[in-house]
């Protein structure tokens, strides 16, 4: 077909430069003459700032640790070396050793696995179930919406830790069980975000226009509503992951997360509690790691959200 060839000709040349140009303009920083920063921006896009990239870098590092924990050149996280007991950081153990003489760095790296898996799974569960419910409620309104919102309000009002304890007692302490339990806890929040965004999208004329062209309800939900709701919902995901990391470690601190000896950050902090007076680093090192991770998640999530937020002017 003639259009096809026309499109292909255009693809590499036109759309990309146009987009870059406008994003420079809006950031208003194009005047900076440093060719290096210009080059960096051409690769990464502009306007995010150094803090964003530091935070994103940290998250990448954590993700890499989780992914490659078994092949990284760290010691065995479960191997107690009694002579290293409560070693301070920067001795024979880079980040010190815990009360049983296990290497903290190695335990952090392996603990990252738990945090990453649980936060990803839990947020996905919440996003999938809560998001779908929220979109349906926002689109169909009526009795379904009222019933759903009432149920969600009840769940939100219930003390989450108690709910979590009950769930964990019921479905067990495996990695998947914990993810599922925390994921269920996220359904109400996601349903609300998705519903609120759906409500504003449904009022737009293009939804009515799609109906006026004979689109079915399913098609409208999938083609008109979902693509416009998914970005704000996804952007909320990173912030939610930060909270999941904290929730998981709270469970671990109570000894109710993934069972020992599997290292988790929360479990490490709980362990360090006993040695706080003589070896504070045992609790501090995992605390700082967690702090940095959650901070990065929030920071990156916030930045992405403000960038992808559906603005009136873009519609």
């Amino acid at each position: 077909m003639p259009i096809e060839s026309g499109n292909r000709r255009r693809t590499p040349a036109e759309p990309l430069p146009v987009r870059r140009k406008t994003s420079y303009g809006s950031a208003g920083r194009a005047s900076r003459a440093l060719s290096f920063s210009v080059a960096v921006r051409q690769v990464f896009g502009s306007g995010f700032g150094t803090g964003f990239w530091l935070a994103a870098g940290w998250l990448l590092l954590v993700a890499a640790c989780a992914l490659f924990a078994t092949v990284l050149p760290v010691r065995d996280p479960l191997d107690p070396v009694i002579v290293n007991r409560l070693n301070a950081p920067f001795t024979s153990n880079w980040l010190g050793a815990d009360g049983l003489g296990r290497d903290m760095l190695s335990r952090l790296v392996h603990g990252a696995r738990v945090s990453v898996v649980i936060s990803l799974t839990a947020v996905s569960i919440g996003m999938l179930i809560g998001g779908s419910l929220g979109i349906l409620a926002g689109y169909f309104r009526g009795r379904f919406e009222r019933a759903l919102m009432a149920v969600l309000d009840v769940i939100l009002a219930f003390p989450w830790l108690v709910l979590l304890l009950a769930l964990v007692a019921f479905i067990g302490q495996s990695l998947m069980a914990i993810s599922l339990a925390i994921g269920l806890l996220w359904i109400p929040a996601y349903a609300r975000v998705a519903r609120a965004n759906t409500l504003s999208v449904v009022q737009r004329e293009y939804v009515l226009a799609a109906r006026a062209m004979g689109a079915s309800t399913l098609r409208i939900l999938l083609r008109e509503v979902l693509p416009n709701v998914i970005l704000p919902v996804l952007a909320y995901g990173l912030v939610a992951m930060g909270l999941v990391v904290i929730v998981e470690s709270a469970l671990a601190f109570l000894g109710l997360s993934v069972e020992a000896p599997q290292p988790t950050w929360g479990g490490m902090i709980a362990e360090g509690k006993r040695h706080l007076a003589i070896a504070p680093h045992v609790a501090l090192v995992p605390s700082i790691t967690m702090f940095l991770t959650v901070l990065s998640l929030n920071y990156v999530g916030d930045r992405l959200r403000s960038r992808f937020e559906v603005k009136e002017s873009n519609l």
């Binding site: 026309g6 293009y206 226009a209």
Partner: protein, 342 residues
Amino acid sequence: MTDSQHQTQQVPLLRVEELTVRLRGEAGIVHAVSDVSFQLQRGQTLGIVGESGSGKSVMARALMGLLPRRATHLMEGSVSLAVDGRVLELLKLSEREFRTLRGPRLAMVFQDPMTALNPVLTLGVQIAEPLQLHLGLNKAQAMARALELLTQVGIPDPEGRLRQYPHQLSGGMRQRVVIAIALACDPQVLLADEPTTALDVTVQRQVLDLLLALQRERQMGMVLITHDLGVVANRADHIAVMYAGRIVEYAPTSRLFSSMRHPYTEALFKSVPRLSDPSHTRLHAIPGRPPQLIDPAPGCAFAPRCPNAQQRCRRETPALAQIGDQHLHACFYPIGSKEVGA
């Protein structure tokens, strides 16, 4: 002319009879459309004129079956559409049956091109989708047709535009795309609900002329809804003036402008500023506001704002009466009648 065409007794393309729509509002039942009747022939344009809140858009949506069922308190009357020699009663169709008509039979152009296009889909996809859905074209065929449509609505560089997103186009261009989408499946009836209200004056004219040219070329029946008499003046074959959900005057365009009878039509006409007026001429405004349509008071809805209103107007609602060839109005004391004087 149009009159002689009209007299050849053909089945009208769209016939609306005593359409009445009541909506559930927060404060009560809204009498949005009352007893509206009109006919539309193939290749004709009907202009529907009235202030905001006169029920024009609700009527258009009712014709398209787009009013939310939850909010519809009552929908009465009859809307029949001639389809391939058969006559379909639209108000009796199920949602599923109605859906197959939207696009290939009935289509609608919306008021605000800024929100009528999905911001996350390319224009090509948005034009091609109804084609794939209704005409069963494959993607390549649909895209080829989309390209054709964009060319027809006068968009420069249509190939490039196919891959663009709505925010990359100006308002006028977007409205052209909205028109292209509406025309994609070759509808028999096109409802244009204030298609140019959101556009610049200079662009307005271009878009209206485009709509009219396409309507003539395809011999569609078109309902052109507007609040501006000037918009329909030399574009519509017939004009229906709506006030408070009712048609108050209906006539062939030339006849309406030469001998309008309803005081509301005259008031609308006078409120169009004219270039020929000397500068600093006071702009004519209609005093007061359109009535609220929740629990309307008895009597003519225009009476409180009408210069000719008398006792009777506040008690009885005037019916739409024929006063000449295809000229109807609903007024006890129309312009030029004895009781009012000149």
